[in-house]
Symmetry: C2
Subunit: 346 residues, 2 copies
């Protein structure tokens, strides 16, 4: 099975609606930048690398929404559109990274037609590069999975979170293909249940032996000696190696350290943000209380209770054993190693 | 507001159905021991102290289901009934503890009528003692809550988990009444959401400022310095102070230690099981996969995914700052202190 989280054909963006999985496989056909931005906000597509590609195609769509033949006006409109698209989700840096790449690619184009062409080619390049980065991360990361072992993962970092294969789940996929991996434990990942809904679905489809647990069972599982390592993705990594990722990642890192279990993070270098010195500088998105108080439209909490619903947390680099990128595995100290992989030629 | 989790009147057990809260307030009227046992299995009543009282009244009902006037036959039947009731939930020791107390109270009674009377009186004594124990735990534990502080709790340990007031939540209730407590953070407590459904409901009813978080946000919350201490209940405490409690408790204890935050456990001495040397000896109930794969009847995971659903985990005593009982606060080393409070006269 080959999952396609996003495709672009004939000026349409096709998204597999991830809020409907695993019950229903619904592909959305989106015509405008605004529709794609809204799909990003509503998490119909999510995962840092997939957000980069979705944002890029949203800007391509935006380039067709500007009437007239003035290049300057079009460039101005694209800057505004990139701003609007980029604000849909603040934490994953891939979104603004991809938009910036597109704007730079279109700089100096002489006609609206040349601008549109440059944007499309750059968006397609980002998508191709992401597929290749995932494949390379798999090859670099798989040797970290001890032969015959069980690995714990969090949220969804598979083909659905990227354009193909996956980041952390991509490493596990490669390790499975190499015969190293025995079992995957996936947290359910409240509130939006990406582990229960999406990672479980990918693992079942792939035939990889897998067990679903509630998030809070991770500690008991590690204490029982059932986990060889933890493998997660990230939404943004600061220059010092601090990792912003799905809420609960920090808890897993603390538990891994307590049990002497390696804690690995797999990301394309597009997720590394060298402009931020540390994780304290990463903006953390807080989402609506209803994500916690309701499941599938049903209330599970009383009226009147306050909710704190941060979508992400920050894991300090001291708890991270290694960061797996498409240009190799980076070990502490991260400052130096991350700079090295980020300056690798594409 | 005064919540009554369980009442016994005219040979009927009345249970507030906790699976329906907070959406519906349904009181079940149960006529037989088997009905009460099933309600316990289905977690319509839960919480270690409440389970003790429910089990006791189930045995009272069983004493009326035995025909004839032979005392020996009745005692024999009661032993069998106690066995069946006690197997409904294996981890909370209060259930078997209460049943044993009833059987002992009825030993040597000369007539079936005297047996039934002894059982009823003992069940009522257990209920009264639990109310009193909760009140005393509140008074002993409240001084541990730093003035003006916010406390994190897990699962439900309130009036619903006991016969009134609560264990850990009872301590917080008393601290609130004394003006010490500023705020409560409650985890939602997957899979059955006792925190979201029950603790939130009790806190809203009581007017105590409270915030609901997903279980995996606990680490981020502690790292932000927003939690002064963690206060939980327990289902069984071994002689060495190891604590079996709702899945996720161990994770909270590890996180609390990492952040230098005290981790307190509040229990009546009926929850202490001196017959077990350590937590390794405590039986841990595993419950149905559907509790994880479905919420409110809706599937949230794909067909074919395996599930590991332990209802409890064990927190080693080295992570426990103090155990609050009705006979005072026990500090490490626990072996000695637990023996002392358990030998206090009722």
């Amino acid at each position: 099975m080959r999952v396609k989280s996003i495709e672009f054909r004939e000026n349409r963006v096709y998204l597999l609606d991830q809020t409907r999985l695993p019950q229903e496989t619904v592909v959305l056909e989106l015509h405008t930048a605004q529709e794609v931005t809204r799909a990003i906000e509503e998490m119909r597509i999510r995962g840092a690398p997939a957000l980069g590609v979705a944002g890029a195609y949203a800007l391509v769509l935006a380039s067709w929404e500007q009437e007239g033949e003035e290049v300057d006006q079009l460039q101005q409109r694209l800057n505004e559109a990139a701003q609007e698209i980029g604000e849909a989700r603040p934490t994953a840096v891939n979104l603004t990274w991809a938009l910036r790449r597109l704007l730079q690619a279109a700089e100096g184009a002489a006609t609206p037609e040349a601008v549109r062409q440059a944007l499309l080619e750059e968006a397609q390049a980002i998508q191709r590069e992401d597929e290749e980065a995932n494949r390379l991360m798999g090859l670099h990361g798989a040797p970290l999975v001890p032969p015959g072992s069980a690995v714990l993962t969090h949220c969804n970092t598979g083909a659905l979170a990227t354009t193909a294969h996956g980041t952390a789940l991509g490493v596990l996929r490669t390790a499975w293909q190499q015969g190293r991996l025995r079992h995957v434990y996936t947290t359910e990942t409240r509130p939006l249940l990406q582990g229960a809904r999406l990672t479980s679905w990918e693992l079942v489809q792939e035939g990889i032996p897998a067990t679903l647990i509630v998030d809070s069972a991770s500690g008991a599982l590690m204490r029982q000696g059932r986990v060889a390592c933890v493998m997660v993705g990230a939404d943004r990594i600061a220059a010092n190696g601090d990792v912003a990722n799905k809420i609960g990642t920090y808890t897993l890192a603390v538990l891994a350290r307590e049990h002497g279990i390696p804690f690995y993070v797999a990301v394309p270098t597009s997720t590394v943000d060298l402009s931020l010195p540390s994780g304290e500088d990463i903006p953390i998105e807080e989402r609506a209380p209803q994500e916690v108080t309701h499941v599938g439209g049903q209330a599970i909490a009383p009226e009147g209770i306050e909710v704190y619903n941060p979508a992400f947390d920050v894991t300090p680099h001291r708890l991270v054993s290694a960061i797996i990128t498409e240009w190799g595995v980076v070990r502490p100290p991260y400052q130096e190693g991350l700079r090295r992989v980020c300056s690798s030629p594409r």
